[in-house]
């Protein structure tokens, strides 16, 4: 900024014959300029629409929380690169943040009741979310999530949500199932695929065997869940780390049954598959809402905050929906979808029913996390 100013004066000096007055005037101006430079250089950054940013935002998250076109656009406008690092499941992410924290990660994507666990371990920084311009774009239900409160601040910026029904391919899976039992049916050996999430797998099995609090099971409940997983094992073809991969496997019909968010039906159709069916098991089901949290001591804090706000703009949210087909927390995105004539799709995915999100049993960190991990490992060994 100040460089540019000095250059301007210098060329002016060179242009005409130099009078004393000019010289004095110029010197004064230059002197003023030098004195004012620190001011000036700060002023525009406050005034400009785009804050001057630097660094790289290291985002530890799920693929569904970022869209490459948005990241490219953000980079083109601000020069800040968003570096995406994936993780297998909540435990894995917690480990990574616990190990290296803000030195390595700026933002971490976290599931509902895992957020308090991060807070308890002092890993994330509460955000003054209510002062963000995009705050008003939320559905009311997500404006003040009780378990995410930290005084006046919020522990996580909500992003998406969904219940997790059982999905199946009606061509092969017959008899309109209503129970978790369908997953265990010997007819479907190696036809089930599930996400590689040990804790959630044990929790699903807990729900299937009647546990009331799947993320706080007793030893005997875990033992039951473990037995159920043992029964299920021959039916599992593989574990999936990404919903996109699952959509592909459902579309090419190598997988017939899964437990997945409401968007999978749309994604399978987009990948060329047939219309799947889904049901909420009578024994109960699990769901999630998730958010992005600021890692404590984040090296590129400002850039991270800027990016979180940027990606929550209606146009990007709508685009995210049209890729994942699961509801988001942003009302602005829903309104835009309706305006563009995609309201039916959004409604089919329950995007207009945020009230449901608060009524589900949601994913969380069990107090006896280690028992869950061991139960899973022992079945799979």
């Amino acid at each position: 900024m100040d460089d540019g100013m000095d250059d301007g004066k210098a060329s002016h000096l060179r242009r005409g014959p130099l009078t004393r007055r000019d010289f004095l005037k110029t010197s004064a101006a230059v002197g003023l300029g030098v004195a004012a430079a620190p001011w000036l250089s700060r002023l525009p950054s406050r005034a400009a629409a785009e804050p001057k940013l630097s660094g790289t935002v290291d985002f530890l998250g799920w693929g569904g929380h970022k869209d490459d076109p948005e990241i490219k656009d953000f980079f083109d406008r601000t020069g800040v690169k968003v570096n995406f690092i994936g993780f297998a499941e909540n435990t894995d992410a917690l480990t990574k943040v616990k190990l290296e924290g803000g030195k390595k990660y700026d933002i971490v994507a976290i599931d509902a009741l895992w957020v308090p666990k991060y807070h308890e371990l002092n890993l994330i920084e509460p955000i003054d979310f209510k002062s963000w311009p995009i705050y008003k774009d939320l559905f009311d239900e997500f404006k003040d999530i009780k378990v995410w409160r930290a005084g006046d601040k919020t522990l996580s910026v909500p992003w998406g949500w969904s219940p997790l029904p059982v999905w199946y391919n009606p061509k092969y899976v017959t008899g309109s199932p209503t129970s978790w039992e369908v997953l265990f049916d010997k007819k479907y050996a190696k036809r089930v695929a599930l996400e590689r999430q040990p804790v959630d797998m044990i929790a699903y099995m807990g729900v299937a065997t009647g546990a009331k609090q799947p993320y706080a099971m007793t030893k005997s409940e875990i033992a039951q869940a473990k037995d159920a997983l043992k029964r299920l094992k021959p039916n599992i073809l593989k574990f999936i780390d990404d919903t996109g991969d699952l959509a592909k496997a459902m579309a090419d019909e190598s997988v017939w049954i899964t437990v997945e968010n409401v968007g999978i039906g749309g994604r399978v159709k987009a990948a060329g598959g047939i219309e799947l069916k889904s049901f909420f098991p009578k024994e109960g089901y699990i769901g999630y809402y998730d958010g992005d949290s600021l890692v404590k001591g984040a090296a590129d804090r400002e850039a991270a905050i800027a990016w979180m706000q940027d990606k929550a703009q209606a146009k990007w949210v709508a685009m995210n929906f049209l890729r994942t087909y699961r509801p988001l927390v942003w009302k602005s995105g829903y309104d835009l979808l309706v305006k563009e004539g995609k309201g039916d799709l959004a409604k089919a995915a329950m995007y207009d029913r945020p009230d449901l999100a608060m009524k589900m049993i949601v994913k969380g960190a069990p107090p006896n996390l280690g028992d869950y991990v061991d139960a899973f490992n022992e079945v799979m060994s």
Binding site: A88, T91, D92, L94, T95, K98, L99, L121, K190, P198, K233, I236, L237, K238, F239, D252, S254, L369, G370, V373, N377, E378, M380, S381
Partner: protein, 298 residues
Amino acid sequence: MQERMTDAPAHQGGTHGAAGRRDIGYLLPITALDLFLFVLPMSIMAVVSFLQVREFELTRQFTIGNYLFFLGHWVYLRVLLKTVIIAVIVTGLCLFLAYPFAYFLTQISPRWQRTTLALVILPFWTSYLLRVYAWMTILGERGLINKGLLLLGVLREPVRFLLYNNAAVIIVSVYLYLPYSALAIYTALERFDRSLVRAAMDLGAAPAQAFRHVVLPLTLPGIMASFIFVFIPMLGEFVTPTLVGGTDGILIVNIVVSQMRALRFGTGAAMTFVIAGLVLVLLLALRRVVNLERVFGA
């Protein structure tokens, strides 16, 4: 190579007696490097394997619980055992396939020898991860083999037992490690005079006998090298079981990684230490049978 190694200083006579000792200085950097980045980490890991981890934090409390956890659970021991068995099978298959192939390589005319050998080496200069991935497109339900057999009318429905099980892990591992075995056996075969085999056969030995009494002993260094380059890496194989093993095909390192991912440094360290110990014992044992430097010189 070993012979030359001991010969070389003798050539220069006594003039370089002190130089022989001075040359030790050349080894200082690598010694320092290995001490700090290999011996020290391994030792620290040994210590950590006896420490307790609580609430994701390493404490200073001594425990043997980490070893009890690993060695006291049959499920985990079983995976270790299974890993060893699969490693043996893969090494065996590699050797079985490598012998005739190595023999074929020795038969190539000298003009093409270099090119042929380069062609053997080239595959393992391609991305290791993508070579494993490529097999998923061969063995999968929509993969090359099923497509081919459907097209030929051999199958009416695609078969599904090719991928996501132990067999797939074995096939892909053999693919990954066969070049090492082939080259090791080839080098051993190249060294000895094949007229010995012919002589044995002329003297009335059956091919099997000739193989057992002449070829086998002479190619023993190649077999040992195969153990080092196939069996040992198999104990640490993670990518192949993860990608093509499904729910049955996991190997011991998968368990180690899941422990590390749950921030259980203690059990992770204990498991790593047991496997690394196994590798070291094996290397020491092989060292007694055959000179290591000679194997690597091969």
